[in-house]
Symmetry: C2
Subunit: 236 residues, 2 copies
Amino acid sequence: MPYELFYWPEIQGRGEFVRLALEETGAKYVDVARGPGGTEKMMRLMQDGSLKTPSFAPPFLKSGKRIIGQTANILLYLGSRHGLAPKGDAGSLWVHQLQLTIADFLVEIHDTHHPVGANFYYEDQKPESKRRAEDFRESRAPKFLGYFERVLKTSGGPFLTGRKLTYADLSLFQIAEGLRYAFPKTAVAWAKKHPRIADVRTRVAARPRIAKYLASDRRIPFNEMGIFRRYPELDG
Amino acid sequence: MPYELFYWPEIQGRGEFVRLALEETGAKYVDVARGPGGTEKMMRLMQDGSLKTPSFAPPFLKSGKRIIGQTANILLYLGSRHGLAPKGDAGSLWVHQLQLTIADFLVEIHDTHHPVGANFYYEDQKPESKRRAEDFRESRAPKFLGYFERVLKTSGGPFLTGRKLTYADLSLFQIAEGLRYAFPKTAVAWAKKHPRIADVRTRVAARPRIAKYLASDRRIPFNEMGIFRRYPELDG
């Protein structure tokens, strides 16, 4: 039985981190909300009062009878099932720690265009976004990128835990790719300053299954509804 | 050998979620940064280039030779070691999913007083905070609280997974306690509307080891440097 992934059909968003893991392992899955009537199906499932493990928000993954929510948690599950994380407890927790730090980074990336709140339009928080984005470019992003570059150096590379790819590397690829989309000017300097992260991006993009996926119409293009948005005024 | 917890010494912050788990299990631990020279020790350890699993930020936990970071990840580790989570994979992932949703909630609580960024003073983002806090009180907090109330109802209670306390219940207690501190007016209505969450708060506070902890000077009082801050202008 294929996995069923539930996520908003029009954006990469948090669902993309799960998609990349599913694609890399070659697992069969249905991207439910992208099919006919799929969003309604997702909403009904979310609100189903009989569910024992309801999710606060998409993405969530149906695996047989189980429903698992929260991006990093889904990856924890998939990682151990499909060899995208070390087998032992210590290695598994370390990869998960990296994933949670990527999740924190992602929140800050999102907040560059929605500092006052996700319930307000970008157009209604433009001055605040400029202030937040400046702080992001000058302080927060360098701190996160410096951290992952350091981890890649310590691991001996080319991946975050060394020679073997994990789901955290796939997520780091997505972050690098997204930053390049959202901050095209600034990201050039970032890539120069963090060659190991840039190398992860190149290596992941070149993996046969990922390369096929990126070229397919299963990969939703970046757009201005997602987490990574190209607003030139935020790129300094 | 006792655990060593590393976290900022002047606030409850994210470290408190770890402290509550350690206290409930009766585990021996040292709150390193609260001891003499402790903050320097923490900073040195964070910057130590030889560390194989460095943390992006506190809290992190030293357990023997291992160093584990990210609050939810530390709780995943402690939960399975000390019976604060179900033993099976399915139950363990479900509790972790709840914890990650609590972590998301916590970010939004923090952002009520720091929408434009943690690097700016509250005083420099007061109008934005008012806007964000209003949205939080009217939309985001009810959504999160409604979710946890629903989970408590479905589980049959009194705890999030049923009859047995998990680390997620300890964290939900801390959220309820913190909201009561930060939004004393609004929290009265919230407690009425979400009696099951209010009941978790009461039950956790009454657990012998937690009660002792809360009355001790190991519990740092809420204050206006932490995540939960009492700014009356944000309480509607």
